[in-house]
Every structure is written in structure tokens, then in C-alpha cells.
């Protein structure tokens, strides 16, 4: 039988089985100039959107793991966020688990 290039339903349902998503959001610290956020803030009123007092731009990481995250895994994600995903000199981060 010819091999299909897409996953069989059996594999898909297995993959959907108990995946948890850990989200890490990284933002520049409030005192650090954010020229990208400023550029977005300046573009909004040109399109008629006048609601924004200011805009800050950041990064969002979505990390999938199998099963419910343990406290050890969450501690590891915190560590990874501190050493790699963010630069603590200029950025803050938050870690949370999404359903």
C-alpha cells in the first residue's frame, strides 16, 4: 500500500492526547526604549485608530509538552526563559500554562 504523506488518524489522535502548552511572554523593561512599539503607536492614528496612549511590543513563545507540566518542568522553563528566551538586563518575562 502506498504510504500517505499525511498522518493517519490514529497518529493524530495520539498526538492530541494530553498536550499542554506553556507560554513564555517576554517584554522589554518599562524603562527601556521600545522603538518598534513607538512605530506601531505612531501608525495607529494614521489608520484612524485613536485609542492608544502607548504601545509596547514583545515576544511570545509557545512550548508544547506531553501531559500536565510538573513543578520540575515549570522550574526548567523558568530557567530557560531566564538564560535564553529573555535577556534579564533589558527584558522581563512571565511563564504560564495554557489549557
Amino acid at each position: 500500500m502506498k504510504k500517505l504523506f499525511f498522518e493517519s488518524p490514529a497518529v493524530s489522535s495520539k498526538r492530541e492526547n494530553k498536550m499542554a502548552k506553556i507560554v513564555v511572554e517576554v517584554m522589554l523593561k518599562p524603562e527601556i526604549l521600545d522603538p518598534q512599539g513607538n512605530a506601531v503607536a505612531a501608525a495607529l492614528p494614521r489608520l484612524g485608530f485613536t485609542f492608544a496612549q502607548s504601545v509596547r511590543q514583545g515576544k511570545r513563545f509557545e512550548i508544547e509538552i506531553e501531559g500536565e507540566p510538573t513543578s520540575t518542568q515549570l522550574a526548567e522553563v523558568e530557567k530557560a526563559a531566564e538564560v535564553l528566551l529573555s535577556n534579564p538586563i533589558i527584558e522581563n518575562f512571565v511563564v504560564r500554562v495554557e489549557a
Partner: protein
């Protein structure tokens, strides 16, 4: 006198840096990001470019390259290390230098001849300059805005660790016009503009960049 020049994936000024080392009279030795062997070099240059595509943050992934573990160890033991542009970013991400380089304040990638003042001529990379000497070398980067907290800025200024400052306006929003700094020992220097592109008036704005490379020879001969 052997000066190592590191090549990461995405480095692009390694050849010019090696040429500048040769023009100053030293031997340039290529160092590869995936090796931990520093090949018995006496000093190391981290050249400019876009290592690892500048993904995540400039220099953030290069910091964990195998060669950097050896570079960090050597730097902490006093070996002279010069980081130019992306190399400066790698040194900050490695915590060999304080602060961070962020997006230029006007968001533009700048590529121009830049006037600088050499503020500290006591480092192994700047001893061929007179204190306060003004030079013109190329500046070319998108993320060259030097940022740090007030406390860090106070000790950098107080300890004379600012190596070079921009002259004639602030090109990128750097605090206190900082174009280059050094560590507490003075052996590690980070510089945003590119001296390796200014070693011959035929191809650069001046030949004033060459003095960074003759400095390291002076430092070793002393």
C-alpha cells in the same frame, strides 16, 4: 603574535578582521564556532555580522556556541578579546560586558562613516591612540543602541570604562553616546563601529581603524 578571529554561521566581517590583523603585523588564526580549540592564540576578535541570523536576540544563540565557552574562560583569565558590532552583542549576551545593544532609536539600519572619540586609551585594543583622539570609521548596524540601568552607567563612567563615544550627534539612541566599553580588568572591549573596514583609504573612509589592531601588538610586546 597570534590573533584568533571567530567565525559563527552568519558572521560576515571575519575576512576583513583577519586582513586588519595581518596589516598590523600579527598572524590571524581562524577559529570555528563549533570547536572549543583556541589554537594557542594570544588574543581573540569576535567580528561583525548576523550570527545565527540574529534570531531571538542579536548574539543570544552565539553565546552558547562551543567556541564561546573557551572564549569566556580565556577572557576571564585575562586574554584580550575585542568584539566588533555583532561581536559586541555576543560579549554583552555572554555577560563579559555589562548592558545590552537594542534596536536603533530611529529603527533604521545605519551604514555610514562615523566620527568617534577614543575616551580610554589604556586598553590592549586602544593603546595606539591618544586620549581624546577623534577618528572616523564605518558604523553599520540595526541594533547598536547601548542600554543599561543607571547604576551600571554610573560605574562605567566612574571607572573610566567607556572606551569610545559617538561625536556629532547620537546615531542610535545609545546612553551617554557610548560606542564602546571595556570590562573591569580592561582586557575585553566591545565596539559598535567597525575599525576593520578602515585600514586603508582605498577601501575605507580612513586608515584610522588600523590602530585598534596595532594596539594589540603593542600590548603583547610590552
Amino acid at each position: 603574535m597570534r590573533v584568533g578571529v571567530v567565525t559563527f554561521p552568519g558572521t560576515l566581517d571575519d575576512r576583513d578582521a583577519a586582513r586588519a590583523v595581518g596589516a598590523a603585523g600579527a598572524e590571524a588564526v581562524s577559529l570555528w564556532h563549533a570547536d572549543t580549540d583556541l589554537k594557542k592564540v594570544d588574543a581573540i576578535i569576535l567580528p561583525g555580522g548576523f550570527s545565527y541570523g540574529d534570531y531571538l536576540r542579536c548574539g543570544a544563540i552565539s553565546r552558547f556556541a562551543p567556541v564561546m565557552q573557551s572564549v569566556i574562560e580565556a577572557a576571564n583569565n585575562g586574554m584580550p578579546v575585542l568584539g566588533i558590532c555583532n561581536g559586541f552583542q555576543v560579549l554583552c549576551e555572554s555577560h563579559l560586558l555589562p548592558g545590552a545593544l537594542t534596536r536603533n532609536s530611529d529603527l533604521h539600519f545605519l551604514c555610514r562613516d562615523q566620527e568617534l572619540e577614543i575616551v580610554n586609551n589604556q586598553t590592549p585594543w586602544t593603546n595606539s591612540f591618544a586620549k581624546g583622539e577623534q577618528i572616523v570609521i564605518p558604523l553599520k548596524n540595526g541594533e547598536g543602541s547601548f542600554q543599561c540601568d543607571d547604576e551600571t552607567l554610573t560605574f562605567l563612567e566612574g571607572e573610566g570604562r567607556v572606551v569610545a563615544r559617538y561625536v556629532g550627534g547620537n546615531p542610535n539612541g545609545s546612553r551617554n553616546l557610548i560606542a564602546g566599553i571595556t570590562n573591569a580588568k580592561g582586557n575585553v572591549v566591545g565596539l559598535m563601529p567597525h575599525p576593520e573596514h578602515a585600514i586603508n583609504p582605498l577601501t575605507g573612509p580612513t586608515a584610522q581603524g588600523l590602530a585598534f589592531f596595532t594596539s594589540i601588538l603593542n600590548a603583547m610586546v610590552k
